[in-house]
Symmetry: C2
DNA sequence: CTCAGTGCAAACGATTTGCAGGGCC
DNA sequence: GGCCCTGCAAATCGTTTGCACTGAG
């Protein structure tokens, strides 16, 4: 009786799965509009929220003003250049180790698959060397 | 000739240094208003931006809608509970190790001091166990 | 048939900006 | 005295919401 499989919802997910970029809601809106010209932006937002809650997609936060979305839910991390904003996916982080007694004592359970690692990309690092 | 040391700017920094919470811009606005009743919210925003660019404070991104700020620039990480939103400071992360060939090959230089680690806090982890 | 989902437009809330006046250097 | 900074108000922009309608189950 709940969670209906609408055309809009499946196409939004489908379009997001297609790309390896990390589009914003309006990017996705534009992508979906090519398939469903009458779709509304609010529908895109509502479905992105829905899909995130379901764990089908990931909402990224590296950009302050607008959210970005990732249709790839294979556990992976993001490298985010603080200088140029470039985002790189890293898939082989199964074994990130954090050595911190405070962390161990806190009882906090990290979800390292979705971590966003700030830093400087190769290009920007050269400039600032 | 540039970067004047105004009363507003130093009080904003001073107030932010005092607390160990991670206040939003309006939280800081309220704090500063107690000292400078005629201060404007825009001034707070402009100075927070300024101070962040100068590296005097850190702008945190764990909250989607509004930015939070940290006056403690001693290298430390944040544990962010995805469930209840609780944020915990971790100071002994000098030796976070990330074992990733992709990362090594990418030439990306991580700034691990400012990393935000998602996960579940002790309390929420129990609930979801 | 029912009600979750949609499209549209208006509302919202955090942040930014234009502008005239103020005060640091 | 120059011009960076401020306070105020209005503007901006991403996101959310109210509402009547639609279509999936």
């Amino acid at each position: 009786m709940k969670n209906r499989e609408t055309n809009q919802r499946s196409i939004i997910l489908e379009e997001l799965r297609k790309v390896t970029t990390h589009p914003t809601a309006s990017d996705i809106y534009e992508m979906v509009k090519k398939v469903l010209p009458r779709v509304g932006l609010a529908t895109v937002y509502r479905n992105l929220d829905f899909l995130e809650k379901k764990g089908e997609i990931i909402r990224l936060k590296f950009n302050f003003q607008k959210s970005r979305y990732d249709g790839n839910i294979e556990g992976h991390a993001h490298l985010v250049c603080k200088c140029c904003g470039k985002v790189t996916d890293i898939f082989d982080v199964a074994d990130i180790k954090i050595k911190s007694e405070q962390l161990r004592n806190s009882g906090f359970k990290p979800t390292l698959e979705f971590i966003e690692i700030p830093g400087l990309c190769k290009k920007c690092n050269k400039i600032y060397r």
